[in-house]
Amino acid sequence: MMDFQYGYLLNLIVYLPLAGALVMMAFINKENSTALKTWATLVAGIDFVISVPLWFLYKPDGAEFQFATIKEWIPSVGVQYIFGVDGFAVLLILLTTLLGFIAVYCSFTAITERQKEYYVFLLLLQTGMLGVFCSLDFILFYVFWEVMLVPMYFLIGVWGGPRRLYAAIKFFLYTLVGSVLMLVGILTLYWFNANGLAAIGLEGLGNEPTFSVVHLFTIAGQIPPEVQFWVFLAFFVGFAIKVPMFPFHTWLPDAHVEAPTAGSVILAAVLLKMGTYGFIRFSLPLLPHATIKAVGWVALLSIIAIVYGALVAMAQKDMKKLVAYSSVSHMGFVMLGMFALNDAGLRGSILQMLNHGVSTGALFLLVGIVYERRHNRMIAEYGGLAKVMPLYATFFMIITMSSIGLPTLNGFIGEFTILIGVYNHSWVWALFAASGIVLGAAYMLWMYQRVFFGELSNEKNKDLPDLNRREQWTLIPLVVIAFWIGLYPKPFFERMAPTVDRVLERVAVAMPEQAPTAAEQVAEIAHAPAGEETGERGE
C-alpha cells in the first residue's frame, strides 16, 4: 500500500519553504528589499524544481501512496507522522509549488511595505499547503490545515484592500469553524476505530488506536451508516466551506477582493482545492454509505452554485469580484463531477481542479496587473485596452478562453469530461451544468468586451504600459500548461487514474444494497432544483 522510495523528497519539498522563511527572518535585513525578493524567489523556485521529479518518479501502477515516510509522533495516542502521495496529490503539489513561485514572483512591485514579513508569510503558507497534500495522518493533516490559516490571515489583513480587516477575520473564522467541526468528525472516526469496532462485534480488525488514514481506509466498510452520516456531515462542513459550496461561499468574495494579488492567486488556485481534495481523499473513500446518501443534496448545492455563481458574476462591476464569483461557479462544477461518482465525472473533477487553479490563478494575476497600474478594478473604468496593451489583451484572451472551455485549451477537456460523467448519472444535472458553461462564456466574454474593445475613452488609460518582462514570465507558464492540458491531457489522466479507480472501488463497497435507493433519491432530488433554478433565472 505504501512505497517508501525517495521518501525524503516530500519532506524536502514541504519544509524547504519553512526553512527559507526562518533563514529570512533571522538573517536578512528588512530594509534590504532586493535580498528579500531574491531569497524568496530562490526558495520558491528551488521548491518547484525539486517537486518536478515527483511527476516523473510517480509510478501509476505502483503502490497507492508513494514517496512515503512513517515516523512515530505521539505513539501513546496513535498519532503518526505519515507522508505519502498518490497521483492526485502529486498534481496538486506541482500546482502548489508552481503557483507558490509565481505568487512570490508577481509581488515584486505590488508589495512595497513590510516586505520581509510578506515573503515570510508567503513561504510559511507554502509549507502549510504542501503539508496538507502530503499528510496521511489525520492529526498531521489537521495541523497543516490550520497552520495555513495564520499566514493567509496576515496576507489579507496586512496587505489587503480597504476592508481587509473584515475580510481577513471572516476568512479565518469561517474556515476555523469548519475545521473544528471536522476535528470532531476525525475524533469520532478515531474512537470508532479504537473502541467501536469491538462494540459491533468486529474485534481484531483494527483496535489499535490510530489516526492513520491508510489504516482507516481498511475499516471504512465496517462503519455503520449512522456513524458515517454524522462524520460525513462534520467533514462536509469543513470541506464545503473551503471549496466553497453554496451556501458557505460568502467569505470568498470578501477574501478575494481584499487580498493582495498573490493572496488571491494562492487562495483561488490552491486553497479552494483543499476542500475538494478533502472530499476525494477522505469523505468519499472513508464514508461510502454516507457519500452515496448525500449525492442528491451535494448535487443540488453544486448546481445552485454553478448557476447562482455565474449569474452573480455577470452582475459584477468589479473585475476581481467577477472572477471570485466565477470561482464559486467553477468549483460547483468540480463538486458536481465528483459526486457523479463515476469514472469520467471524477477524472473530470480532478482535472478541472487543476484547470481552475491555472486559469483562475492567471485571471487574478491579470486583474492584479492592471490594478497595479491604475489602482482601480472597475470594469467601467476601462475600455479599448487592447489598443494600448496588446500583449496584455492577448494573454487575457487566452486565459478567458481557457476559463470558458474553448477546445484546444484546458477548460474544455475538464468541463467536457465532467459533462460526460454527469450525463451518465443524470441528464437533468447535465442540463444545468451545460447552462452553467453557457453563462460562464457570457460573463467572461462580456467582461472582455467591455474592458478591451470599444473606444479608449478614459484619459487615464491612454498611456498604460504593456506587460513587462517579469509580468510576462508570471503568465507564460500558466498559458503553456493551459495549452498542454488542452492538447495532450493524457499524462494528467494517467497520473490521476489510480486514485480515481481506488476511490470508486471504495465507494462501490456501499453500492450493492444501496444502489437502487440512491438512484431513486437522486432522481427525486434532481427534480427539486429545477423549480428553484427557473425561479432564480426569472428574477
Binding site: V180, V184, L187, W191
Partner: protein
C-alpha cells in the same frame, strides 16, 4: 507515627520554612530587597522540586502518610512540579513589576510560597479534612495577594469581593463535606469510595452533600454560574498575581476536583455528571462570549481563563482514562501559555496599573517585533491553533469527551474555541494591522525587564515544543493520571 513518615512530607516543610524565612528577611530588606528575596524564594522552590522528585515517587506505588491524611503518588508529583514552576515564574515575573510600583517583595514571595504549600496539600490530600485545610491555606494566601497593592482601590475591591465570595463558597464546600461525613461516617477518600460502591447512592443527604461539594469546587475553578468574582478579582489584582491565580490555584482546584470526583465520589457519577455537563457548557459559552466585548486586556484574559476552565471540565464530564490525563495535559499547557500572555501584559503596563486597553497594543509589531511575535504565539496557543501546545491540549480534551460519547458538548466546545479566536485576534489585529500612529492611539510602552523576558522566553519555548513534540508530556501525564486509578 515515626519520624520516617515525615520524610515524604519534607517538600512541604521546606517550603513553609522558606516562606517564614522570606517573611522575616523582608522586614530588614524593606522595599529594596525584591530581587534578593525572589532569588531566595525561587531557590527554595527548586530545592523543593528536587525533594518532590526524590521522595514523591515511592517505588512500590502510592503511599499514605501522616495518618492517611496525604497520599504520595505520581499524580501529586505532576501537580506539585507544576505548582513549583508556576510559583517560580510568578516570582520572577513580579520582581520588576513590584519594584516599578514601589512595593516590597517579602510578603509577596512568602505568600506565593505559602499558597504553594496549600496547593501541595490539595494535590495530595487523601482525606476531605486535609484537602479542605490545603484549600484554605491556598485561598487565604491568595486573597491577600489579590489585595497586595494596598494603596490601589481596585486591588482592595478585588480582594474583598474575592474574599467574601470565597469564604461563602468554602462554607458551602464545608457544609457538603459535613453532609457526606454525616451519611458515610468517614472523611477518608478511599473509604468513601469503598462505601459508595456498597451503599446505595440515592440517600438524599449524601446526594446533597456531593452536589454541595461540587458547587464549592466549581466556585474555586471559576465555573459559571459561580464565576462572578473572577473578572473583578483578576482585573484588580497586581498583574503577576492575576497570572498566578489564573493558573496555579485553578490547577490545584482541578487536582482536588479529580481526587474527589474521579476517586471518592466515582460511584455517585449519575448525581454529579449532569451538573458538570451543564457547568462545562455554560462556562465555555459564557466565558468566550463575554470575552468578546472586553476592552481591558486583563479583563479579557480573565474571561478567557473562565472559558478555559470550561474546557477542562469536559475532561471531568467524560470521566474516563483519557479524560483524566487530558486534564493534566491541558492544565500544564494552559499554565505556560497563560503565563506567557500575562508576561507581556506585565511588560506593557507602562501607564500605571490595570489601565491598559487593547488599543494600547497598536503597532507593537512595528516597534517591538519580538514581543509581538511572542504575544502572537500565546494568542494562537490560547485559541488552540496548531502547531502550538494549545492545540495539543484541546485535542486530548475533545478526544476524551468524544470517547465518553459527549458529542454535543464537544461541538459546543469547538464552536466556542472558534469564537475565542476572535477576541484573541483583536489583540493580534492591534499589534500587526495597526501602526500605532492613528488618531487617538496611545500605544503602550514596552518596559524592559530581563527576568520577566527570560520567563516569557521559557514559556514560548515550552508552548512551541509541546505543540510540535508532545509525546514526552503525554506519556508523563498518562503515568500521573493512572495513579488516580480511574476505571
Amino acid at each position: 507515627m515515626t519520624l520516617e513518615q515525615f520524610v515524604p512530607f519534607l517538600p512541604e516543610i521546606v517550603l513553609a520554612t522558606a516562606g517564614f524565612i522570606v517573611l522575616l528577611l523582608g522586614i530588614p530588606l524593606g522595599r529594596g530587597g525584591v530581587r534578593q528575596l525572589s532569588i531566595f524564594g525561587v531557590a527554595s522552590l527548586m530545592v523543593t522540586g528536587v525533594l518532590v522528585w526524590l521522595f514523591g515517587r515511592p517505588a512500590d506505588g502510592p503511599a499514605l502518610i501522616l495518618g492517611d491524611m496525604l497520599v504520595i503518588d505520581n499524580f501529586a508529583v505532576f501537580f506539585k512540579l507544576l505548582f513549583l514552576a508556576a510559583g517560580a515564574v510568578a516570582i520572577f515575573m513580579a520582581a520588576g513589576f513590584l519594584e516599578r510600583f514601589g512595593y516590597g517583595g517579602g510578603e509577596y514571595v512568602s505568600l506565593i510560597l505559602f499558597a504553594t504549600v496549600g496547593m501541595f496539600v490539595m494535590a495530595s490530600g487523601a482525606s476531605l479534612a486535609s484537602l479542605y485545610v490545603g484549600l484554605e491555606l491556598m485561598a487565604l494566601s491568595v486573597y491577600v495577594l489579590v489585595g497586595y497593592f494596598k494603596l490601589e482601590i481596585k486591588s482592595n475591591e478585588g480582594a474583598v469581593k474575592y474574599f467574601v465570595l470565597g469564604a461563602a463558597s468554602s462554607a458551602i464546600l464545608l457544609y457538603g463535606i459535613s453532609l457526606v461525613y454525616g451519611s458515610l461516617g468517614t472523611l477518608d477518600l478511599q473509604q468513601i469510595r469503598d462505601s459508595l460502591t456498597s451503599v446505595p447512592t440515592s440517600n438524599p443527604m449524601l446526594v446533597l452533600g456531593m452536589v454541595l461539594v461540587c458547587f464549592g469546587m466549581l466556585f474555586k475553578v471559576a465555573a459559571v454560574p459561580f464565576h462572578v468574582w473572577t473578572p473583578d478579582a483578576y482585573e484588580g489584582a497586581p498583574t503577576p498575581v492575576t497570572a498566578f491565580i489564573s493558573v496555579a490555584p485553578k490547577a490545584a482546584a482541578f487536582a482536588m476536583f479529580m481526587r474527589l470526583f474521579f476517586g471518592a465520589f466515582a460511584s455517585g457519577i449519575d448525581h454529579w455528571r449532569v451538573v458538570l455537563w451543564v457547568a462545562s457548557a455554560a462556562t465555555m459559552i459564557y466565558g468566550n462570549v463575554a470575552a468578546l466585548t472586553q476592552d481591558n486586556v486583563k479583563r479579557m484574559l480573565a474571561y478567557s481563563s473562565i472559558a478555559h476552565g470550561g474546557y477542562v471540565l469536559m475532561g471531568l464530564v467524560a470521566f474516563n482514562q483519557t479524560g483524566a490525563w487530558a486534564i493534566l495535559m491541558y492544565i500544564l499547557v494552559y499554565a505556560f501559555m497563560n503565563f506567557g500572555a500575562f508576561g507581556f501584559v506585565i511588560l506593557l503596563e507602562s501607564k500605571g496599573y490595570a489601565g491598559e486597553v487593547i488599543g494600547d497594543y497598536a503597532g507593537l509589531a512595528r516597534r517591538h517585533p519580538g514581543a509581538a511575535l511572542g504575544m502572537l504565539v500565546f494568542m494562537l496557543a490560547l485559541a488552540g491553533i496548531p502547531p502550538t501546545a494549545g492545540f495539543m491540549g484541546k485535542l486530548y480534551i475533545f478526544s476524551a469527551a468524544i470517547e465518553g460519547g459527549y458529542v454535543l458538548l464537544t461541538v459546543i466546545a469547538v464552536i466556542m474555541s472558534a469564537v475565542s479566536l476572535y477576541y484573541y485576534f483583536r489583540i493580534v489585529v492591534q499589534m500587526y494591522l495597526y501602526e500605532g500612529d492613528e488618531e487617538g492611539a496611545e500605544p503602550a510602552e514596552y518596559l524592559r525587564d530581563r527576568w520577566a523576558e527570560v520567563m516569557i522566553a521559557i514559556c514560548i519555548v515550552i508552548t512551541m515544543l509541546i505543540g510540535v513534540w508532545p509525546a514526552p508530556v503525554v506519556g508523563w501525564a498518562k503515568t500521573a493520571a493512572s495513579a488516580l486509578g480511574v476505571m
